[in-house]
């Protein structure tokens, strides 16, 4: 497949998905800068794989890549924190939507990365549980229990915080 043809096809996918992918990455990492980079990296993987994935729905593919990248980022940060004991700097979010995403990301920090991914795909992306199970390569019942347990953890933090804002 020639690059020019690939560009023509991929362009529409890029414009449709880039913003959403950035949103998922922001909720999972809590870092707007890194979220943008991770979203770009996931799109780059999709671009490279385009000749194979273009005939199917490339959405799940790019989301799997994105979640894996976010999990790598989580491990990297954990290692860095262990070595130097530094947290990433707080971000001054002027945009109300980004500010809300940062608040949610902060609460999501209490979850292990896989449950974070399940919650973000279920509610932010509004994906059915079966699709999430496929994207994360996880049994359906495990995804259901992940959602239940994650909500149990999040509820006290987010409902308590909601009243004060």
């Amino acid at each position: 497949m020639r690059l020019r043809d690939r560009d023509e096809e991929f362009r529409a996918f890029y414009f449709a998905e880039a913003g959403r992918l950035k949103g998922i990455a922001l909720l999972m990492t809590g870092d707007p800068g890194r979220a943008e980079e991770i979203a770009q990296e996931a799109l780059l993987k999709a671009y490279r794989a385009w000749p194979r994935i273009r005939r199917e729905d490339p959405g799940p593919y790019v989301r799997t890549a994105l979640v894996n990248l976010c999990r790598n980022e989580y491990r990297r940060r954990l290692l860095e924190k262990r070595h130097v004991g530094r947290e990433s700097a707080p971000v001054d979010a002027h945009d109300a939507r980004i500010a809300e995403a940062m608040r949610l990301a902060d609460a999501l920090r209490s979850l292990p990365p896989i449950r974070k991914a399940v919650i973000v795909l279920r509610y932010y992306e509004d994906l059915p549980e079966a699709d999430i199970a496929r994207i994360l390569d996880r049994p359906l019942n495990t995804v259901k229990s992940d959602i239940r347990r994650a909500l149990q953890t999040l509820r006290p933090q987010l409902q308590e915080g909601a009243g004060s804002r």
Binding site: M1, L3, R6, D7, F10, R11, Y14, F15, A16, A18, G19, R20, G23, L27, G33, E37, Q40, L43, L44, K45, Y47, R48, A49, P51, R52, I53, Y61, T64, A65, N68, L69, R71, N72, R75, H83, V84, R86, A89, R97, E100, A101, L104, A107, I119, V120, R122, Y123, Y124, E125, D126, L151, L154, R155, Q157, L158, Q159, A162
Partner: protein
């Protein structure tokens, strides 16, 4: 509002998509990435043919592939297909120059108390890549073995957003955060970035975008005003040296002559010599020499690097580093 409703509301809000310029930048990066993979695939195919048809002939590895390059780590991602020609085995993804490990020692560049730019050895050995080193320098993280003692002109809360080497010589750098507000500190902060990157082979100049403003073609020469007359890059203080070690640095000295001598713990000189910088007497040059030790008075010695005064031959602009000697090694 329940957590799920809050997340759902965020997800259903209208999202601003990327701009045309962002697409153009993405498309450019994507093209480069695909081209690199195609090259790797061709290299892999060639190696396979050599193995199959070349009998016992030795196969020379492409410099970009092979087990002596750092492993790309990370959790599994979906299998990626390329439209490259079919190969007998999956090609190894070539390592980007900015993620390629370099020989040690490496330096981070900070400011000494007298305001001069100086190398501070970087102790975190893995991975010793341009990206890692620059990330740590911008974040003012000297590595786990201790503080550098140097100061930084890069304001807090900056981070490396993008690093790529173009045309094999120019590093494209994007730093996210607030750049120094005054020209003097901006100049100093740029110097730290440029000196850190240009110690790696294959990086000669830097295009730096910071807070949306781009400075193009920055080289070491743009920041010579921040250096002392002699800057010693190797060896570093308390380095353990063997029977032979390298002396390396930058200098602007009279007649380009850089002198050195070694003293024992008692201060007695037991070996001396000189080397020539690539330029001198008003211009900056690099110097390099190899010092061989036949005997040493003690296991702790001091290396002194200096220029001789044109008037009386006395040492000027002296730089001293203590060294540990282990003569059993090379």
């Amino acid at each position: 509002m329940s957590p799920e409703d809050r997340i759902r509301k965020l997800g259903s809000a209208e999202i601003t998509g990327p701009s045309e310029a962002e697409w153009q930048a993405f498309s450019e990066t994507a093209h480069r990435s695909v081209s690199r993979r195609r090259l790797a695939a061709v290299a892999g195919g060639t190696a396979f043919l050599l193995i199959v048809f070349g009998g016992t002939y030795a196969v020379t590895r492409s410099p970009d592939v092979g087990p002596d390059r750092p492993e790309i780590v990370g959790s599994p991602t979906p299998t990626e297909a390329t439209d490259a020609p079919p190969t007998p085995s999956d090609p190894v993804e070539p390592v980007d120059p900015v993620d390629r490990e370099a020989p040690l020692p490496l330096n981070q560049w900070y400011f000494e108390s007298d305001g001069t730019l100086k190398p501070f050895v970087y102790f975190e050995y893995k991975p010793a890549t341009p990206r890692k080193l620059l990330e740590q320098t911008i974040a003012h993280i000297p590595g786990p073995l201790g503080e550098t003692g140097g100061t930084t002109a890069i304001p807090e809360d900056n981070r490396l957003a993008y690093l790529q080497v173009r045309d094999g010589k120019t590093a494209e750098v994007v730093v996210r955060g607030q750049r120094p507000s005054d020209d003097e500190n901006l100049h100093k902060a740029q110097a730290q970035i440029v000196y850190t990157l240009t110690q790696f082979d294959g990086i000669e100049r830097v295009n730096l975008t910071w807070e949306g403003r781009k400075s193009e073609g920055l080289t070491r020469a743009d920041f010579h005003d921040l250096l002392g007359p002699i800057v010693l890059e190797e060896p570093y203080a308390v380095q353990e040296v063997g029977r032979a070690f390298r002396l390396k640095g930058i200098a602007n000295v009279y007649e380009a002559t850089v002198s050195w001598r070694l003293t024992g713990e008692d201060g007695e000189v037991f070996k001396e010599g000189f080397t020539t910088a690539t330029c001198g007497s008003g211009c900056w040059g690099t110097f390099e020499d190899r010092i061989t030790l036949e005997r040493v008075p003690s296991t702790r010695i001091v290396l002194q690097v200096f220029q001789e005064s044109a008037e009386d031959g006395s040492p000027m602009d002296l730089v001293e580093v203590p060294l540990k000697v282990q003569l059993g090694t090379d």
